[in-house]
Symmetry: C2
Subunit: 344 residues, 2 copies
């Protein structure tokens, strides 16, 4: 089938709590024309990531929101269909930020060429891309796990968490992963080599976590928040480091949702008495280290020391449902949309 239209998914409305399918519109438009210095891209893979929930909201954040009626934002792997840029030719595979659509034009300067010989091209959106770099940079610059220390990460079978735990082990630390359900926990232990895996759905979750961390917690890589934080916090050791790269449990909350007693004063008391370090970050702060990450991670992958799992959903039209599921933890591994077949 020759595509003659650009399928796009637009933001139809700003969700107040969890996004619903009606917050998105499926739209068909003409395939855009590249100008001088640009290329026409056919999107192969779209990355779905929790940060996109923030872009759907008008609340102030580190990046501007997607406008109502605009194409949803997102990282993509694409093939060059036509090139008006000297550095790219038809058939090249590139990393772009083209959003939820099947075709796009892009400036050559915004693209990174991918070498399919190094690793499957989809990994440029996962273990070798933004999520993998988030894990690496947060540990390298903030978590700094030392040998024998205990590193805890939640959403541990996901794109960031799975890399956090494996790097922690590669640095000689103990990795304790938190995930939803038996199957994911088994994956952490058997496929990724975590030292312990805890199901956060268990009623005795906090007790289980405490038993899995007999020497306390030295690094808590925060990407979820919510009740995981409450279970982790009392176990933190003096001088513990908490890189904060996400708070997925909060993303669908409406202001004033929690209703419970104020926890801030107690948190600050522990920050003081335990000399804790809490540090939010976005991976682009450490952009200058990307080559170092890529080299180290590619080497680990080649040697089988860093493993990854992808959860690939076919068809751009399924992106809204898949994204809603991501916020509920229904994916298993790095969530991607296969927008078009690689070898079509």
């Amino acid at each position: 089938m020759v595509m003659t239209e650009n399928m796009r998914i637009l933001l139809a409305s700003r969700p107040t709590a969890a996004p619903k399918p009606a917050d998105f519109t499926l739209d068909r438009a003409a395939i855009p024309e590249p100008s001088e210095g640009q290329v026409l891209l056919k999107i192969l893979y779209l990355s779905l990531d929790p940060y996109m929930r923030g872009r759907m909201s008008a609340a102030k954040s580190y990046a501007a929101p997607v406008e109502i009626g605009a194409v949803m934002e997102g990282g993509t792997v694409a093939r060059v269909e036509r090139s008006l840029h000297a550095s790219f030719k038809e058939g090249d595979t590139v990393l772009s930020h083209s959003g939820w659509q099947s075709y796009a034009v892009a400036n050559g300067s915004d693209l990174r060429k991918l070498d399919p010989a190094v690793a499957p091209i989809s990994t440029a959106l996962g273990v070798l891309g933004m999520p993998g770099f988030t894990a690496w940079a947060g540990l390298q610059n903030i978590g700094r796990p030392k040998a024998e220390e205990t590193v805890v990460v939640a959403a541990a079978s996901g794109a960031v968490g799975s890399v956090v735990g494996q790097i922690a082990r590669l640095r000689g630390a103990r990795a304790v992963g938190i995930a939803g359900g038996r199957e994911k926990c088994a994956f952490l232990l058997e496929d990724l080599g975590f030292d312990a895996a805890i199901d956060h759905r268990g009623p005795d979750f906090a007790d289980q976590l405490a038993r899995a961390c007999p020497k306390g917690i030295d690094v808590y890589f925060e990407n979820v928040g919510g009740r995981v934080w409450d279970a982790v916090f009392p176990l933190l050791n003096t001088f513990a480091r908490i890189p904060v790269c996400g708070l997925i449990a909060q993303y669908n909350a409406t202001p004033g949702d929690t209703g419970g007693a104020d926890r801030l004063d107690g948190t600050m008391r522990s920050v003081l008495t335990k000399s804790l370090s809490i540090r939010g970050f976005i991976q682009r702060e450490f952009a200058s280290q990307r080559d170092q990450f890529y080299e180290e991670a590619s080497d680990w992958i080649a040697k089988g020391k860093l493993r990854y799992r992808e959860d690939i959903v076919d068809g751009l039209e399924n992106a809204p449902t898949a994204f809603i599921g991501l916020l509920e933890g229904r994916n298993f591994g790095k969530l991607l949309i296969r927008v078009a077949k690689e070898h079509a």
Copy 2:
């Protein structure tokens, strides 16, 4: 008058909220006898510091509590009365940690000899001692103010805050101080050279603070907590640093005191979206930098670039009342008890 007894102030009971005079007992005991390697000290100055409230409580912290019936802990400047240690002789002035009493024995290895020619000996408990080093180390290692940045500190006329603001200015930053009352604010502006001073007692305190920080806040040196935190937090800039060395507004609180809505989730959202860094610390973590601090601070004092104010109360028997006042902000400058006259 020749003293023949050791006056001591003991912890009589653990306060549940603000300490009361009845939580202390004035006691008289025999003057202790030094053994080999020890010295007998006559205490000249006792330092009163907010951290002592923590030592009165059994709650877990970074240091063990004072036992009921034991002498209250504290930093002291003392004169050697008798020495059984080769490095000290009668008449030497030393820094010791002898607590709330008029005489003490100490191991020579726990003492630091003071040179009265460098600065008044009382400064070893303030601007050149633990509080000054807390200010210096928190800025040097965590706050790291850059030129033109805005540094905010509360309890700004106190032992730590006054040094924080002055060092911030010496590093080229803008210093905004928060203090209680007109007189203290005038002192910050006129004597210490702060760029702005805000009275936290004003009903429009938060608005005043916002007006004093038109470019936001890059470093908030946290030593009080409470409503100052609430006013500061919305003004923090991306990449702001928050060294946390004290929370005096909380020290007299009982668990569950706050009662308000939970602020933790909102705090963590800002940590993430603004890449904030919150870091608790106790100065002894940076003990290896003490000589560097002492050299730099002594030089600043000699050149009139670093000023200090002491609030000296005569008589050890007045220590409990003075300490209770410290937690209420009634002191003006570094609070010291003159236990005995220097030149008696």
